[in-house]
């Protein structure tokens, strides 16, 4: 029983990465209608950014939590301005192919210079050590990741679903011409939204740098699972992707305990089941 609690908690930790990444994807898909396959590569860039800040500029973990997402977010906005914006009226497939190609290029460049084993990034001193919860030893850093990402997820949800800015955004997706008539710069808003989604991915990258190796392929390993999360939660649904992210982390954790060999596939089995029963995802609106 104790082991079960421990696995639940560990699942929640992984779930927080899924939630952060799928949230960014959901924001980008919901607002820009782009299936952003470059998300994993941008997550990886976030982690590398933290590594460079530390090793080149001697800037530690805490500033990196802000600086890396901003830097990668700006990189994302440049991508949006120079490439993605031209795809706005076209089929989803074009956006998917373009971002997938971008992901391969970015990964390839990093791999060329840094190999595949990755680089070390240590846990910040304030978050070292762990707490004995009785049923398990919880590293402080992991606890921090769960709480921090939960807060960020809820803030993003609030920003988009409950503020005036979010209302503009949602309106601009529904009917850009009308919103433009009110004097709002829609293209700029779209660019900023993409920057936000990418920034969330980079933030997840910084959070994961001390846990996983900073590796060029770290995003590629994760992105497929995250896409399954988004599909299960419902494309474009913000709250849906947050809840599904955490829930799937827990389910995966359980699988690792009861039948570890299947832990890589369980998410996809669930995806198939959800698609069969409710093709628009658990919280998605039927279109």
């Amino acid at each position: 029983m104790q082991a079960l609690y421990a696995q639940l908690l560990v699942g929640l930790i992984n779930g927080s990465f899924y939630a952060l990444l799928s949230l960014g994807l959901a924001v980008i898909f919901g607002m820009l209608n782009i299936i952003n396959f470059a998300h994993g590569a941008l997550y990886m860039m976030g982690a590398f950014c933290a590594y460079f800040l530390l090793n080149v500029a001697n800037i530690g973990y805490w500033p990196a939590l802000i600086l890396a997402p901003v830097a990668v977010g700006i990189f994302g906005m440049i991508l949006e301005r120079t490439m993605l914006q031209w795809l706005s009226g076209l089929d989803h497939l074009y956006g998917l192919l373009l971002t997938f190609g971008l992901a391969l290029i970015i990964q390839g460049v990093f791999q060329n210079y840094f190999g595949s084993s990755g680089l070390p990034y240590s846990i910040p001193d304030q978050l070292k050590g762990g707490i004995n919860l009785g049923f398990m030893y919880l590293p402080v850093y992991r606890g921090w990741v769960v709480i921090f990402s939960l807060v960020v997820c809820l803030l993003t949800w609030y920003l988009i679903e409950r503020t005036r800015l979010g209302a503009y955004l949602r309106a601009a997706t529904e009917n850009p011409t009308l919103v433009r008539a009110f004097g709002i710069n829609v293209p700029r808003m779209i660019t900023l939204t993409y920057g936000l989604g990418v920034g969330l991915a980079a933030l997840a990258g910084v959070l994961s740098a001390p846990i996983n190796q900073v590796r060029p392929l770290m995003g590629a390993d994760l992105i497929i699972v995250v896409f399954a999360v988004v599909v299960i939660g419902g494309m474009g649904s913000i709250m849906g992707s947050i809840i599904t992210g955490f829930a799937l982390g827990v389910i995966e954790g359980m699988t690792k305990y009861f039948y570890p060999e299947a832990s890589n596939t369980v998410v996809f089995v669930l995806m198939v089941l959800v698609l069969l029963v409710k093709p628009s995802g658990l919280t998605g609106r039927a279109t």
């Binding site: 082991a3 421990a6 696995q7 560990v10 699942g11 930790i13 992984n14 791999q111 060329n112 210079y113 840094f114 190999g115 595949s116 084993s117 990755g118 680089l119 070390p120 240590s122 846990i123 050590g129 762990g130 398990m136 030893y137 590293p139 850093y141 992991r142 846990i211 996983n212 190796q213 590796r215 392929l217 770290m218 390993d221 994760l222 954790g253 690792k256 305990y257 570890p260 060999e261 832990s263 890589n264």
Partner: protein, 406 residues
């Protein structure tokens, strides 16, 4: 009419003779470096193995003696079917003579069978499974550098004898993981230890926390990491986070490469015990090779024992070709010649190749240095003990290779 027939016969005879002559003096070789070029094993093999092959060609001086040697490379993506398809095309279309590297035992075992069918040559230094020279040995495969028996008898036995008598395995769920777990289990039991349990994880796992918790709960003294590459480094890094080493359990990285230690950093990796057959800082010859290698590597990493194996195995292969006076393009014949000649190269020293295809040379037990002991980047290993050649590999009388039963 008669004249015509005579001329025709003469012409045919001349052509045949010329053909025979061409066979005898055929000095062309094509090498295929088949590896994981982009995934979790790309640093321990991958582009570095292609470079090692190039260096072997240059250092052998074969080109100056009239040989024409080409090297091509391929990416097996850690998938046996992809690996076999590439190898088949190499033999059928590209006329490749010899395949080197192949990390990932699953791919290596599949390709090894195909190589036998095509009468090619496989000089494997990337894969670990000792099955390559036991149950699944072929007259066309030579296994270089290391295998799971070496690792089990180096790391497993020494840790068990030093008091680590209860083990729990974290095993990568494919051929290599199964082989190293089996061999280490045997070694630990022989040294008086017992196995408390284990868990199999999929290859390429990024989060090990669930598995580590199970290992922690087992209360085993030693947690054996029966995996490789990025799987091992992630497991070690996360074990530190979960306080496993601080809690008194010890990690046994059953297969660890210098690139893994570099990736972990000495803070995390210090104190780990493991077995390798090559380290760049062993002697003058290895240092000289490593320096040239590092300068030419894109990410400036040091050579791993896999890279060293590719280099050494090709040097020996060239020796056999010279002894044969040309390339007969007959895999089994060249391999037989290679087994006949004693091995002697700058990286592994003097050794030999057993009839089952296993290359025999010493292995070394290393410990990762503390950050304070290291003089700089890549100065990572302390030599703890040397395993003599006859202890480092499966003794011939215990080998289950069918080639031995005649």
């Amino acid at each position: 009419m008669n004249n015509k027939i005579a001329a025709l016969l003469l012409g045919t005879a001349v052509a045949l003779a010329a053909g025979n002559l061409a066979v005898a003096q055929d000095k062309t070789v094509k090498i295929g470096s088949l590896s994981d070029q982009s995934g979790l094993y790309a640093d321990l093999g991958g582009p570095g193995s292609t470079l090692a092959a190039q260096m072997a060609v240059e250092d052998s001086g074969m080109t100056a003696r009239g040989w024409k040697i080409d090297i091509i490379s391929g990416d097996h993506l850690n998938k046996p079917d992809v690996g076999v398809n590439i190898a088949r095309q190499w033999f059928d279309v590209d006329k490749v003579d010899v395949i080197v590297d192949i990390p990932n035992s699953g791919v290596a075992l599949a390709v090894s069978n195909m190589v036998r069918e095509k009468n090619g040559i496989l000089l494997d230094s990337g894969a670990g499974s000792s099955d390559l020279t036991n149950a699944q040995c072929t007259p066309n495969t030579i296994h270089w550098a290391y295998d799971t028996y070496t690792l089990a008898h180096g790391t497993g036995t020494s840790l068990a004898k030093a008091g680590g008598d209860s083990w729990f395995f974290l095993t990568a769920d494919y051929a290599f993981g199964a082989a190293i777990e089996r061999d280490t289990t045997a070694a630990v039991k022989a040294a008086g230890g017992k196995i408390l349990g284990g868990v199999k994880h999929p290859i390429g796992t990024s989060d090990f926390s669930s598995f580590l918790l199970q290992a922690q709960a087992s209360k085993a003294k030693i947690i054996g990491l029966a995996n490789a590459g990025a799987d091992t480094t992630n497991a070690i890094k996360q074990a530190a986070e979960f306080g496993i080493v601080a809690g008194g359990q010890k990690l046994a990285a059953l297969l660890l490469f210098i690139t893994d230690v570099h990736a972990l950093g000495l803070n995390t990796a210090q104190g780990l015990n493991f077995t390798e057959t090559f380290y760049w800082d062993l002697n003058d010859q290895s240092r000289a090779f490593a320096k040239r290698f590092q300068e030419r590597m894109k990410n400036h990493s040091m050579p791993t024992m896999v890279h060293a194996g590719v280099y050494a195995s090709l040097l020996h292969y060239f020796k056999a070709l010279e002894a044969l006076g040309g390339n007969p393009h007959d895999g089994a014949r060249v391999v037989a010649k290679m087994k006949e000649l004693p091995t002697d190269d700058p990286l592994f020293g003097k050794g030999s190749i057993e009839p089952n295809g296993r290359t025999i040379h010493p292995a070394y037990l290393f410990e990762v240095k503390k950050p304070s002991e290291s003089k700089g980047p890549w100065d990572y290993y302390k030599l703890v003990a040397t395993l003599p050649a006859d202890e480092a590999f499966t003794p011939l009388d215990k080998s289950t290779c069918p080639l031995l039963k005649k």
